[in-house]
Symmetry: C2
């Protein structure tokens, strides 16, 4: 049974990315600090082609956030820093020739363009369809595996509001950004049917899994 | 040198108390869950007259939040569930005949009443003066020890906004309340001069100390 999952690295004051996102700051100013818990893990090091890295709880959550997915959905602002119409010289994503998805990735955008086939099994599909239609397509493509709502905040909020997410992983870091993209502002997760089903605190982050009942 | 400190137990989604506070729910619905990290500690058990309890990081933060203060300031809604004018049969606070403050406690209220002398050195002073005037009085009374802005959320927010708090302790629990009293909504702590100067995660809470530079 395909589950729809999302994983969010947020600050202690609730921001999932820093302000002023752009080419030099894909995660916004100070946004990297939200991911300190995963940079050192074996799974992350492995993803960027390196050996070593830590094992344990942080590594487990990092791995769970990347494995078991048959399709991904992301907002156009997560795919790249370009807004509006696509320039002639195409932007091919942040991730180089072999992105870490290895599956179809549906990019929500008001500016569709032809599919972009990358190495390692990743194809980016650009679509202006409704979030529901895109999710149906992603579920079908996932072939029984899970679908990940990969981000950013706006995309996750749209799917949350529509009641289409089954499981949320929060990795909360002891960091205060003050400004940026707020994830939960105005959301009442218990009222949306979510309850904490798992939790683990490491020396770097507080991990919480919420499941919709 | 007297420091002005506040300590807040908040949920992972930023609430410092649950909704529907009242006589049966002094911390609001589910508000007790924000304090799970301290109930089992030696300091807390000692405070309620019991032996035993855990030592370690949670206990250290619990102790730091109670010791070293020469005066306290709290909002009237923290002092009790009664709103508006005081009834003839006076409410004497939640804490019984020997409250855990052992120092003057200034209660901000639009409805002043005579001071209330309790056991163990605690006297509640009810004042309609400005938050600045009350803080000056509390600092003088503290005699070189620190002043604690004890709560609730509205009182802490007023002192934060006025730039009058030097140090904040957050104990963030892996709990999502969805509704309640939000502490930080609209606050940019880095812009107010706060930086994280200490952090420690236990199996129950993420502790962060922020200091104003």
């Amino acid at each position: 049974m395909t589950k729809v999952r999302a994983g969010l690295a947020i600050s202690a004051d609730g921001f999932g990315a820093g302000p002023d996102q752009g080419l030099d700051n894909p995660l916004g100013k100070r946004g990297r600090e939200l991911h300190d818990w995963q940079f050192g893990t074996r799974t992350f090091q492995n993803m960027i082609g390196k050996d070593g890295g830590s094992e344990g709880v942080d590594d487990d959550f990092c791995a769970r956030g990347m494995r078991g997915f048959g399709a991904f959905i992301m907002g156009r602002n997560m795919f790249g820093p370009i807004r509006g119409d696509w320039p002639a010289e195409a932007w091919n994503g942040w991730w180089g020739p072999n992105p870490p998805y290895h599956a179809p990735v549906y990019v929500l955008t008001h500016y569709p363009r032809p599919p972009l086939v990358m190495g390692g099994g990743t194809t980016f599909h650009f679509t202006a369809d409704s979030i529901e239609t895109v999710l149906d397509r992603a579920k079908e493509a996932a072939g029984g595996r899970d679908v990940k709502i990969a981000g950013g905040m706006s995309t996750v909020r749209q799917y949350l509001r529509a009641g289409l997410i089954d499981e949320l992983h929060f990795a909360i870091s002891p960091v205060f950004l003050g400004r940026g993209e707020s994830l939960l502002d105005g959301f009442d997760l218990p009222a949306l049917g979510f309850a904490v089903t798992e939790q683990a605190l490491t020396d770097k982050a507080m991990h919480v899994i919420l499941t919709r009942g």
